[in-house]
Symmetry: C2
Subunit: 392 residues, 2 copies
């Protein structure tokens, strides 16, 4: 065989191997026009559409008409986006400005080969591969700067599935006070419902909080009294200190967040106003917080007025049970207020340690509203306790 | 340029592109000899080792000496294996005999390109890529057949990190009665602790149960009274019916399972005997079940005798708090018994529907022990309630 023939053979061989490798990177399922309930191995929606037959959800496919913004694509946000993508949500809008690092590998979702990529780009690529039916939009900037805040506000205002409509829900999965306040300000201004979420720096507790402007306390109505002072992860890392984290606590927090998102968007079950998780003793406190009538956020006050004037209609959707009764009785469903609630009167430290600052100067008014709220849920819990005692 | 030179150039170009694609498929981090607490972006263990500085875990790196068997690598098992891999467990032994299908894409972990692969092989490949420090062993067979059961028993008996040692824990993530009974029989025979887990077919509840042979009720002490009769997924699918499932419920169940696994293996917090999850109302019941003195499993009776004879020593490990006090007080940590516990006296149906069978014929003795167990926890809860009432 001549040299040129050998070269040609080698070239054909290489080209075919290359195509194979390219294919391996790209095997992606086709888009699916309409969700089907057909029970075949090739249907990625059969187990979700079965929620209708089980009497849990009336019309599961409505999820395709929903648009959800996820702010922060870290340990909680990435798993949140993953779950919503697998559930087939219509549109996901991701916000983050951080990069994937090997130091993030102790949480679910990202893989070591993505180290160095922007979190939103890496996430969008994985999510689009998992479910090409979901529209993924990415925003790679810090929402707390003045210019970016306007872009953020505009994006969630016009990010709905229908043109000129807002997103259906904003999920906060950020890790700092400033970003939470930015989301709070935007959602108060637009009257948009959102969930706040968080995990503790010792990795063994987490929480979600449902904020409906005017109806429940916003983040500025009862913010944490003490917050880290201009200390971001970079400063901490220079000092050789970082927060602990666990895939378990973050996965559970993301699960609680998306489960309540599904209940809200598809109208089933009870959406929790606040749900906490203490991993040390497997304790899951629930509570409700009323809005603060002297909140610092003027849009919150506007929303409170609107809410007070609105006629209260309870939206009840009945789901016909087609198969197998669902055993959901809960004779012991007592809800108790957590003693480690975000703000309590006792939690006012006289001295603030280095690196911490008071988040605001006038705790009196928030104290009042939080006391009221806590007292309120404590009263409810007491009634429940009494009822339980009698029934034993 | 001559034809041969052009060919040579093309060849070099192709070869380099091919290498790039091969690299893309294989960028995998090097193994890490010893876990480091150093706070740098390139350290995948910094956030886990920080649990020591936070005063949660005394010696995190002990996790490398632990071997865990995960039986069933579906919606709960795959996420369980993912979490344990990212936490850097020493060894994972995976059992399953099913294949990945597109119909599984509504749960976390598997990706559409893995459809058709065996679940254990697909999982092992992903997990090894995520963390090459974890030893992954796969077993692709059904543990309930006579021959395979012996292989299963032998594997968990000798699957520890040290030679001739057993695994440290078995996690059941299976979806049927027969497989749970097989795991139960093996663990009773070997005196091995294990966690049972499960999610309901309507996708909105889940649970985990810690079984310590001789100390707590085994799966045969108080099994479900009614189980599906020889109906596996294949039969159901032919009839166009399948169970519903959600990534949220399965992620939360896996999170509860692995969190309690970490607490048990690394000796921190309180390990729950039973933890349930009702997604409709965000209710998380806890309870304890004592072993049945007339259990059908003779190895269970042997373990009960051994446990009764053993001197009771409480193992307490103190962790020095180096930084930031952990606020873990829980004045409201009341544990209540769930009314929908696996077996209750009221739950005895007179008629069994088509496709269901009684799992056993003599419910009297289990009734007795379950009554006792429930009565017992109910008493404890009553005391707790009384104490709480007084303190309000």
């Amino acid at each position: 065989m001549s040299a040129i023939e050998q070269l040609r053979d080698k070239l054909v061989e290489l080209q075919s191997e290359l195509e194979k490798h390219k294919d391996e990177n790209k095997i992606q399922r086709e888009k699916i026009e309409k969700m089907s309930a057909e029970v075949v191995d090739s249907n990625p929606y059969s187990r979700l559409m079965a929620l209708q037959r089980m009497g849990i959800v009336k019309d599961y496919e409505r999820i395709r008409e929903k648009s959800v913004a996820v702010v922060g694509v870290g340990g909680v946000g990435s798993v949140t986006a993953d779950m919503l993508t697998r559930c087939g949500v219509g549109k996901l809008i991701l916000f983050d400005y951080d990069k994937v690092e090997l130091a993030n590998m102790n949480r679910l979702f990202f893989t070591p080969d993505q180290a160095g990529l922007s979190k939103v780009e890496a996430a969008a690529s994985t999510l689009n591969f998992i479910n090409p039916d979901v529209t993924i939009e990415t925003h790679n900037y810090n929402i707390t700067t003045v210019e970016s805040f306007d872009k953020f506000l505009d994006t969630i205002k016009n990010g709905g599935i229908a043109s000129n409509s807002s997103v259906d829900l904003v999920l906060s999965c950020v890790d700092n006070f400033e970003a939470r306040m930015a989301i709070n300000a935007a959602c108060n201004e637009l009257g948009l419902n959102w969930f706040e979420s968080g995990v503790s720096e010792n990795a063994v507790s987490g929480h979600i909080q449902f904020i409906r402007p005017g109806d429940t306390a916003c983040f500025a109505c009862a913010p944490p009294l003490v917050v880290a002072e201009n200390i971001d992860e970079k400063t901490l890392k220079r000092e050789g200190v970082c927060a602990a984290s666990l895939p378990t606590t973050m996965g559970i927090t993301a699960g609680m967040l998306v489960q309540n998102t599904l209940k809200y968007l598809l109208n089933f079950g009870e959406v929790s106003d606040y749900l906490g998780y203490n991993a040390m003793i497997d304790f899951f406190p629930k509570m409700s917080l009323k809005p603060n009538p002297s909140c610092d956020d003027r849009h919150c006050l506007l929303r409170q007025k609107e809410f007070a004037a609105k006629p209260k209609v309870e939206k009840v959707e009945t789901v016909e049970e087609i198969q197998a009764p669902v055993h959901e009785e809960n004779n012991w469903g007592i809800e108790l207020v957590d003693s480690s609630a975000p703000v309590t009167t006792e939690a006012k430290p006289k001295e603030v340690s280095t690196g911490l600052k008071l988040a605001y100067d006038a705790p009196d008014k928030t104290e009042a509203v939080v006391e009221g709220a806590v007292g309120n849920t404590a009263d409810i819990s007491l009634d429940d306790l009494m009822a339980q005692m009698k029934s034993i």
